[in-house]
Point group: C2
Chain length 153, copies 2
DNA sequence: CTCTGTGCAAACACTTTGCAGCTAA
DNA sequence: TTAGCTGCAAAGTGTTTGCACAGAG
């Protein structure tokens, strides 16, 4: 991603902040910039390290909170399932998972067409794929009528 | 799941242990039984609470280690991404994720047919789906030639 | 001026590690 | 008998919370 693209994205982001009623702080812009400037999927710690090069006084907490805020306004998202305690699944039959982003519950569903996903050759050749699944996120029934704030996940 | 089914699964599990060269301890059987006896996707803590009803002396560490062992021999698996530090993604363009279960890296790929997954009506009606994606797990190129043991994830 | 956001510090939750004694095979 | 397993304790890592001050609007 070149500098011009980044500038454009940052400007979009600032617009999105205003629309969401968020203040535009240098920390926010710096975190956002660091986030889109990498192909990796950084942890808060990764971003922290990066941003500190330009802004040595920023705190890890701010980075953490800012990233969560970005996810809330849709300027970023959280990689599937990460950041939650490890959950185990003893059901070995074909099924798929739906994660409620509010209450954190994982709910099984089974849609047979999803059992045999065809991967493109470039993937099969490059990675040793041990598992392939369709994964959904959203709000479960009980959580749909409640505010998205004070969510626990 | 009724008692007979559970008994059968436990027997299969014991067989699988022997084949994998694992010892058959009462703790292992108890953890496994608790795991398959629930539709939820329990954390180690959940299983711990459950197993203690029958086996009050078991420790949380044992539960934790046992569950990881079950995942290693394929008698259980770990719900997508859980148990890892939260990772953020600033790429809002369509793409999918591949998680290397050894080094923990998340690698993007993009296969356009996966961009528009058709969900069955029963799902759309029940949940508010905010995200739907294909998710892969396995070994990335650099990790394919190394042992699966002393993995960090 | 006001109210949100930041930095700091402490608390908390989850996971991992090392080790001594125990036990299944 | 012995290699692998368990329980305990401690440390490590990641995340959350409360609060006082600073800064954006």
């Amino acid at each position: 991603m070149d500098n011009e693209q980044i500038t454009i994205k940052v400007r979009d982001f600032e617009k999105r902040c205003r629309e969401s009623g968020l203040k535009l702080t240098p920390q926010r812009s710096a975190v956002y910039k660091a986030l889109i400037n990498t192909d990796m999927h950084p942890t808060a710690e990764d971003i922290y390290r990066e941003v500190r090069k330009e802004m040595p006084a920023i705190s890890l907490d701010t980075v953490n909170r800012t990233l969560l805020t970005l996810a809330e306004i849709g300027a970023a998202f959280i990689v599937e399932g990460t950041g939650q305690p490890r959950r185990f699944d003893g059901g070995l039959e074909d099924h798929q998972h739906f994660l409620c982003i509010k209450c954190g519950k994982v709910i099984d569903f089974h849609h047979p067409p999803f059992d045999n996903i065809q991967l493109p050759n470039e993937i099969e050749g490059k990675f040793k794929v041990l598992r392939k699944t369709v994964y959904l996120e959203g709000l479960c029934e009980p959580c749909q009528n409640q505010s998205l704030h004070n969510q626990t996940v």
